[in-house]
C-alpha cells in the first residue's frame, strides 16, 4: 500500500485519495471551507494549503492527490502563515455581523478565526456592499456580504440534487451566488444548501432568527416524514423542536435531508398536549389530572374488556416496533378487540433521491409485528364503515397520525367509548371521552423499520413534560388496572421479548441497533432504491 | 402567718416584677445597642409610639423591647404537626421558671428589724424579729440553688425532643451535654467558697464576706478565691448557653433547640436566656462580690456617705434602716448590672468554640483546676483558719494574672514575622522556646 509522510508520520492511503482524505482519516486537522466529502473538489477557498516537499508552492490538500513517498507538512510556520493570510483575505469583505447572523455558534469563520488567525482586522477601506436579504427560494435567504463563494451550494445543486438552479455571478470581490433570471431555488432539496454553507450566507427561512445555535440541545433520531427514515439530528430547547438536520448515514441518506422532511420539525410542537383531556357530554375536552384520566379510561374500558364484541383498537403507522408489540399484546390479552385497525397518512410526493410515496415511517415494522402476532388489521375506510353500521361501539385510538382524522372523528361521534392516546390534539381528541398525553417520536425510545427494511433506533431526546408518557407506558398502566400486569421494566426487555417471540425479528438484534441502523434480512421492495 | 405571707409576696413582687423582668427586658435592648456600638453601628433606635411637637419620641430605642413584646405576642404560635404538643408547650416554661426559682434564695438587701415596720403587732415582732430581704432563707440555699439550676436544662432538652426536628434534637442534646459538663465545674468551684466561709446559706456567705479581713480588706470571694471566681464565671457563661459557648444554638449551623418555636414560645426562650444572665450574675455577686454589701461604706450601724456618717442615733432607727435597705439593694443591683454588661461584652468579643473545644475546656481544664482549687483551699484553711493566708494567696494570684496580662510575652504578628530580626527577643514564649516554627 502506498504511503506518504504527514508531519513526520507515515500514513497509508488508497490510490486516488487526496491529502485531506488521508489526513482526515489520521485525525490530522486541515482547515477547509469549500471541500465537502460528498461533493466534487473545487479548491477555491485555499484554506487547506499545506506544504509538500519538492513542490514550488503550497498545495491545496483537498485537490492534491496523494502519491507514494510524498512528504507533507501541515503544522509548520509556512503553512500557518498561509492559513492566517488566507483567513484574513476571506474576512476582508465579511461584515462581521455575527450578532444578527444565524450561523453564529456553528460558523466555520468564527471557529477558524479563533484557531488560525486571531489577529485584529487591518482593513481600513469600506467593505464591499452587496445584497443582504436575497430570497433565493421559498426556504432559503441569501446574504451576499457574508458569502465566501466556496460554491458548495452550487455544486450540491448540480451534483446531488441534479437540478442546477444556482450559479456564481460576477467576478472578483463582486462575485455572488444567485439564480439565473426566472429561476427560483425551489428544489425539494434546497435546504441542504443551507447545511453545506460553511458561513452564514445561506439561511433557512424556517429556522431564521428562531433560536441561537448554542442554545439548542441535540439528539439523534430518524425523520418521520416518509418511509425512507433519513437519519436526523433533533435540535430542541426547553421541549420545543426548532429544526431537524441530516445525520450522516451512508446506507440511507448520506448527508442529506429533503425539505419536506425538515418541515416536519413542527410536528412535535404543534398542538402538543402534555396534560390529559377529558370530555363530559357534548362539551369540548378539558384538561385534567393524568391519574384521574387514567382511572376514567379504565372505568370506560372495563365493561368492554372481556366482552370481545364491538370493540375496535387502532394503531398509527407512526408507532415504533416496540409500541406495536405492546399494542398487539394489549388488544389480545386485555381488550380482546374484534376490530384491529391501522391508520396512517396517505401517499404523497416521491422522487428518485430520498422521498418515497409512503409517508408512514414504520409501515414495514408495524406490519411485520402484526403479521407475526396474527392480527389482521383493517384500514380507515373499513373502520368507518363498521362504526357507522354499529358493529363497533367502542374505540381505543392509539396515535393520531392519519389523513382521515376529521372523517374518523365524525364517524366516532356516535360511539359510547372513545379512548385516545396521542401527543397532539387532533380531530380524534375532540371526540374522545379521554385523551391520554403521549410523546412524539423525538421523545420516544424505539425502533422504526424503513422502506429499505432497515431497523433504525429513535432516541428520546428529552424527557416527557407534565403527565405525558410514552404510549406503551399508558397501555401497561391501563392493563395493570384491568388485571393484567406486564413485566417489562425497560425497553430492552420488550425488545428481547420481541426477538424471542416474533419470527420476523428473530435475527434482527433489536436490542443492539447501532446509530446508523441494522439491515433486516427481509426482502427489500423495488421502490426502496435511491440514486443518491 | 399573714405577716409572712405579705412580706414574702412583697419581696417576690419586687424581685420578679420590678427587678428581674425589667432588667431582662432592658438586657434585650442593651445586647443590641451595646453590640452595635462595639461594632461601630447604631443599633435599634427608631421605635416610637407617639411624638411630641411633631418629633417622634424614640428614647434611644428603649421602646424597641416593647415593640418586640407586642410583635411576639401577636405572632402565630406554631406547633409542628409531628411535635409532642404538651411537651412542646411546657418546654419554654421549664428553663424560665427554674431560673426564677433560683433567685428565691438570693439575699438582695440587709435584714430589716420588724420593729420599724408599720401595722405590726408586738407578738409578730417577738415572733419574727427581722425581715430578711431574701424570699426564702434556706439553710441549704446553695444546694437548692444548684439543684434547681440543673433542672433548667430540661427546658432545652424537652424543647429539642418535643419539636421532632433533628436540628432541634441535636441542639437539645448539645445543650444537655454542655450544661451537665459545666455543672460539675460550677459545683466544684463553689466548694472552695463553702470551705472558706463555712456556710451554705447565701445570706450567711454574704455576711461572712463583708467582715474585715486580716489585711484590712473585706473577705470577698473574689479576693479569697480568685481562681474559683474565674472558673465559676466561665462555667456560668457556659450554663447560659451564650457565645462563646452557644453551640446548642449555633445559628449558623443547627439553629438550635428552639428552631420550631415561634411567637411567645420563642420569646420565652430568648427572655429566659436573659433571665439566666441576671440570675447567674446575682449568684456570682452573692458568692464572690459580697452580695448587697459594700465594705467601708455600709456597716451594720453606720453608713458613710462621704460628707457625713449616718447612724441610727443621728437620723433615727427607721430612717437609718430605710436608707440602709435602699442603699443595699442599689449596690446589689449595680453589681448585677455590671456583671450582665460584662457578659454581653464577652459575647461580642469572643467567637464561638467548636464543640470539642467546649468539652475539652469543661472536662480537661475547668474540672482539674476546680479540684486543685479545693485541695489548695482546704490546705490553706487548715493552716490558717482566719482566711488571711488565703487572701494573700488570692491577691498574689490576681497580681500574677495582671502582671502576665500586661507584661507577658507577645507572639510576633504575621507581618513582623519576616525580616525583622531585631524583635528576636519577643519571639520566645514564657518557656524560652522559639514561639514560631518555620
Amino acid at each position: 500500500m502506498p504511503s506518504l509522510t504527514l508531519d513526520g508520520k507515515k500514513v497509508d492511503f488508497q490510490p486516488g485519495e487526496t491529502i485531506i482524505q488521508a489526513a482526515t482519516r489520521e485525525n490530522v486537522e486541515i482547515p477547509y471551507y469549500c471541500w465537502h466529502p460528498r461533493l466534487s473538489v473545487a479548491a477555491n477557498c485555499r484554506m487547506c494549503l499545506v506544504e509538500v516537499e519538492k513542490a514550488p508552492k503550497l498545495m491545496p490538500a483537498c485537490q492534491t492527490a496523494a502519491t507514494d513517498g510524498m512528504v507533507v507538512h501541515t503544522q509548520n510556520e509556512k503553512v500557518k502563515d498561509a492559513q492566517r493570510a488566507v483567513h484574513e483575505f476571506l474576512l476582508v469583505n465579511h461584515p462581521i455581523d455575527c450578532p444578527i447572523c444565524d450561523q453564529a455558534g456553528e460558523c466555520k469563520l468564527q471557529d477558524y478565526y479563533m484557531e488560525y488567525q486571531l489577529a485584529p482586522s487591518r482593513v481600513v477601506e469600506h467593505k464591499v456592499n452587496k445584497p443582504r436579504l436575497e430570497e433565493l427560494g421559498p426556504h432559503v435567504v441569501y446574504n451576499a456580504e457574508r458569502c465566501i463563494v466556496c460554491t458548495r451550494c452550487v455544486r450540491f445543486m448540480d451534483e446531488v440534487a441534479q437540478n442546477p438552479q444556482l450559479g456564481v455571478f460576477n467576478r472578483g470581490d463582486h462575485s455572488e451566488i444567485g439564480c439565473a433570471p426566472g429561476v427560483v431555488l425551489d428544489d425539494a432539496y434546497s435546504l441542504n444548501t443551507v447545511d453545506v454553507c460553511p458561513v452564514g450566507a445561506l439561511t433557512s427561512t424556517i429556522f431564521r432568527f428562531k433560536q441561537r445555535a448554542w442554545n439548542l440541545k441535540r439528539s439523534d433520531s430518524v425523520c418521520g416524514g416518509c418511509a425512507r427514515g433519513c437519519n436526523i439530528h433533533v435540535d430542541q430547547r426547553s421541549g420545543v423542536v426548532y429544526r431537524l438536520l441530516p445525520r450522516d448515514n451512508d446506507a440511507v441518506n448520506k448527508s442529506w435531508l429533503c425539505d419536506e422532511g425538515r418541515l416536519t420539525y413542527n410536528r412535535p410542537n404543534e398542538g402538543k398536549i402534555t396534560e390529559a383531556l377529558i370530555r363530559e357530554g357534548q362539551d369540548a375536552p378539558t384538561t385534567t389530572d393524568g391519574v384521574a384520566a387514567l382511572n376514567k379510561a379504565v372505568e370506560l374500558l372495563k365493561p368492554l374488556a372481556n366482552a370481545g364484541k364491538g370493540v375496535a383498537a387502532t394503531l398509527s403507522l407512526h408507532a415504533t416496533v416496540e409500541e406495536a408489540y405492546v399494542f398487539g399484546r394489549f388488544v389480545k390479552d386485555v381488550l380482546k378487540a374484534d376490530t384491529i385497525g391501522l391508520v396512517g397518512l396517505l401517499p404523497g410526493g416521491q422522487d428518485d433521491l430520498l422521498r418515497v410515496a409512503d409517508k408512514n415511517p414504520n409501515r414495514a415494522g408495524v406490519m411485520a409485528v402484526f403479521a407475526d402476532m396474527g392480527l389482521k388489521p383493517v384500514d380507515e375506510r373499513e373502520l368507518m364503515q363498521r362504526m357507522k353500521s354499529g358493529t363497533v361501539k367502542a374505540w381505543l385510538a392509539v396515535g393520531h397520525e392519519t389523513s382521515f382524522g376529521p372523517e374518523l372523528a365524525l364517524a366516532a361521534k356516535g360511539l359510547e367509548v372513545v379512548v385516545h392516546v396521542a401527543y397532539a390534539r387532533g380531530p380524534i381528541a375532540e371526540v374522545a371521552r379521554v385523551t391520554l398525553p403521549g410523546v412524539s417520536w423525538v421523545q420516544t425510545d424505539g425502533t422504526w423499520v424503513n422502506v429499505q427494511q432497515r431497523a433504525q433506533r429513535l432516541k428520546a431526546g428529552f424527557l416527557p413534560e407534565h403527565d405525558a408518557k410514552p404510549t406503551h407506558a399508558w397501555l401497561m398502566d391501563i392493563a395493570s388496572r384491568l388485571g393484567v400486569a406486564y413485566a417489562w421494566p425497560s425497553m430492552t426487555t420488550i425488545r428481547a421479548e420481541i426477538e424471542s417471540q416474533l419470527p420476523s425479528f428473530r435475527e434482527a438484534k433489536l436490542t443492539q441497533v447501532p446509530p446508523t441502523g441494522t439491515q433486516l434480512p427481509w426482502a427489500v421492495p423495488a421502490e426502496a432504491a435511491s440514486k443518491i | 402567718m399573714l405577716f409572712l405571707l405579705v412580706t414574702t409576696l412583697l419581696k417576690f413582687v419586687f424581685l420578679v416584677l420590678l427587678f428581674i423582668m425589667p432588667l431582662a427586658t432592658l438586657l434585650t435592648w442593651m445586647e443590641r445597642r451595646q453590640s452595635a456600638l462595639t461594632q461601630d453601628r447604631l443599633g435599634p433606635w427608631r421605635a416610637s409610639f407617639f411624638s411630641i411637637g411633631g418629633k417622634p419620641v424614640r428614647l434611644l430605642g428603649l421602646l424597641h423591647p416593647i415593640a418586640d413584646a407586642i410583635k411576639m405576642l401577636f405572632k402565630e404560635p406554631f406547633t409542628p404537626a409531628s411535635a409532642d404538643k404538651r411537651l412542646h408547650a411546657i418546654a419554654p416554661l421549664v428553663g424560665y421558671v427554674m431560673a426564677l426559682v433560683v433567685m428565691s434564695v438570693i439575699p438582695f438587701g440587709p435584714d430589716i428589724p420588724t420593729s420599724i415596720l408599720p401595722f405590726v403587732s408586738e407578738e409578730t415582732i417577738a415572733k419574727y424579729p427581722v425581715v430578711p430581704l431574701q424570699v426564702v432563707r434556706l439553710d441549704a440555699g446553695i444546694l437548692w440553688m444548684f439543684a434547681l439550676a440543673s433542672l433548667g436544662v430540661y427546658g432545652a432538652a424537652l424543647a429539642g425532643w418535643a419539636s421532632n426536628n433533628r436540628f432541634a434534637l441535636l441542639g437539645g442534646l448539645r445543650a444537655s451535654a454542655q450544661a451537665i459538663s459545666y455543672e460539675v465545674a460550677l459545683g466544684l468551684t463553689v466548694v472552695g467558697i463553702l470551705i472558706a466561709f463555712g456556710a451554705t446559706e447565701p445570706s450567711a456567705i454574704v455576711n461572712a464576706q463583708n467582715q474585715a479581713g486580716g489585711l484590712g480588706l473585706p473577705l470577698w470571694g473574689i479576693l479569697v478565691q480568685p481562681l474559683g471566681a474565674l472558673l465559676f464565671f466561665i462555667a456560668s457563661v457556659a450554663e447560659t448557653k451564650r457565645t462563646p459557648f452557644d453551640v446548642p444554638e449555633g445559628e449558623s449551623e443547627i439553629i438550635g433547640y428552639f428552631v420550631e418555636y415561634s411567637s411567645m414560645g420563642f420569646g420565652m426562650f430568648m427572655l429566659g436566656e436573659f433571665v439566666e444572665i441576671v440570675v447567674l450574675s446575682a449568684v456570682f455577686s452573692t458568692l464572690f462580690l459580697g452580695g448587697w454589701d459594700l465594705p467601708w461604706i455600709m456597716g451594720n450601724d453606720s453608713i458613710w456617705l462621704g460628707f457625713t456618717t449616718l447612724t441610727p442615733d443621728s437620723v433615727g432607727v427607721g430612717t437609718f434602716h430605710l436608707v440602709h435597705m435602699l442603699l443595699g439593694m442599689g449596690i446589689w443591683g449595680a453589681k448585677i448590672f455590671f456583671l450582665c454588661a460584662l457578659q454581653l461584652q464577652i459575647r461580642w468579643t469572643l467567637p464561638r468554640f467548636r464543640y470539642d473545644q467546649v468539652m475539652n475546656l469543661g472536662w480537661k481544664m475547668l474540672l482539674p483546676l476546680a479540684l486543685a482549687n479545693i485541695f489548695v483551699s482546704a490546705a490553706v484553711i487548715w493552716w490558717d483558719p482566719s482566711l488571711t493566708a488565703m487572701t494573700v494567696l488570692g491577691l498574689g494570684f490576681i497580681g500574677l494574672v495582671i502582671l502576665v496580662a500586661v507584661a507577658g510575652p507577645r507572639r510576633r504578628t504575621a507581618h513582623a514575622d519576616h525580616g525583622h530580626g531585631s524583635h528576636a527577643s519577643h519571639s520566645t514564649d514564657s518557656h524560652g522556646h522559639p514561639a514560631t516554627s518555620h
Binding site: 453564529a104 467593505k127 432568527f209 | 456600638l37 461580642w348 514564649d429 516554627s437
Partner: protein
C-alpha cells in the same frame, strides 16, 4: 498564578493556651470601641450606620442599577436580538424573542425583550456582553417593589423608556463608538 504558602501549625505555649490575657486584650479593644462610640465626642465616634430614609448614601458613578435599553435616533431599540446578554446571563433572567425587522438595514430586532428582575442578580454581564451598546445598567435606580411576580418581568417598552443616570435623555450619538464606521448598505 497564585502562590500557595504553607505555614506549619503553630504550637501554642501554655501561657497562650490559657487565653486569659488575650481575652482581656480583646475585651479592651471591644470596650474601647463601645465607650468611644457611646460616650465619646464627634472625633472619637466612628459610627458607620446610615439612617436610611432620612440619610441616603450617594451611589458611586458605576453603580449597577436597573437595566435600560438604549434607543436609536428614531426611537427604535438598538438591540438586534443577538442573545449575547441572555447567553452571558448567569441567572437566566433575560428572555428574547427575535424577529425579522421590517427595516431591511437592521434585519433582526427583538419582538420581545423581557428581564425578570426577581431573577436578575445585577452582575452586569449583560452589559459587558452587548455588542451594540444596547443595554446599560446606568439608571441608578433600585429594583422597584412588586406586588405580583408578573410585575417583576419588565418588557422592552418599559426598558426603553428608562433614562440614564444623568436624567436627561437616553444617551445616543456621541457615545456610539460605532458611529462613522462603515457597515452595510
Amino acid at each position: 498564578m497564585g502562590v500557595v504558602r504553607v505555614r506549619d501549625r503553630v504550637e501554642y505555649s501554655l501561657y497562650e493556651r490559657s487565653f486569659v490575657p488575650e481575652i482581656l486584650r480583646g475585651l479592651a479593644i471591644t470596650l474601647g470601641h463601645f465607650f468611644s462610640n457611646a460616650f465619646g465626642n464627634k472625633e472619637t465616634r466612628n459610627l458607620q450606620t446610615v439612617r436610611y430614609p432620612e440619610e441616603q448614601r450617594v451611589y458611586p458613578a458605576r453603580y449597577r442599577g436597573q437595566h435600560r435599553l438604549l434607543q436609536r435616533e428614531d426611537g427604535s431599540s438598538r438591540c438586534v436580538a443577538c442573545y449575547m446578554c441572555s447567553t452571558a446571563c448567569p441567572a437566566y433572567c433575560i428572555h428574547i424573542v427575535a424577529a425579522e425587522s421590517p427595516d431591511n438595514r437592521i434585519e433582526k430586532y427583538p419582538a420581545a425583550f423581557e428581564i425578570d428582575l426577581l431573577r436578575c442578580i445585577y452582575c452586569g454581564l449583560c452589559v459587558e456582553a452587548c455588542p451594540e451598546d444596547a443595554i446599560r445598567m446606568d439608571t441608578g435606580v433600585h429594583t422597584p417593589p412588586f406586588f405580583t411576580r408578573d410585575d417583576a418581568v419588565v418588557g422592552r417598552i418599559d426598558l426603553l423608556s428608562l433614562m440614564g443616570r444623568a436624567g436627561t435623555a437616553p444617551a445616543y450619538g456621541a457615545q456610539n463608538y460605532r458611529e462613522g464606521k462603515p457597515r452595510g448598505a
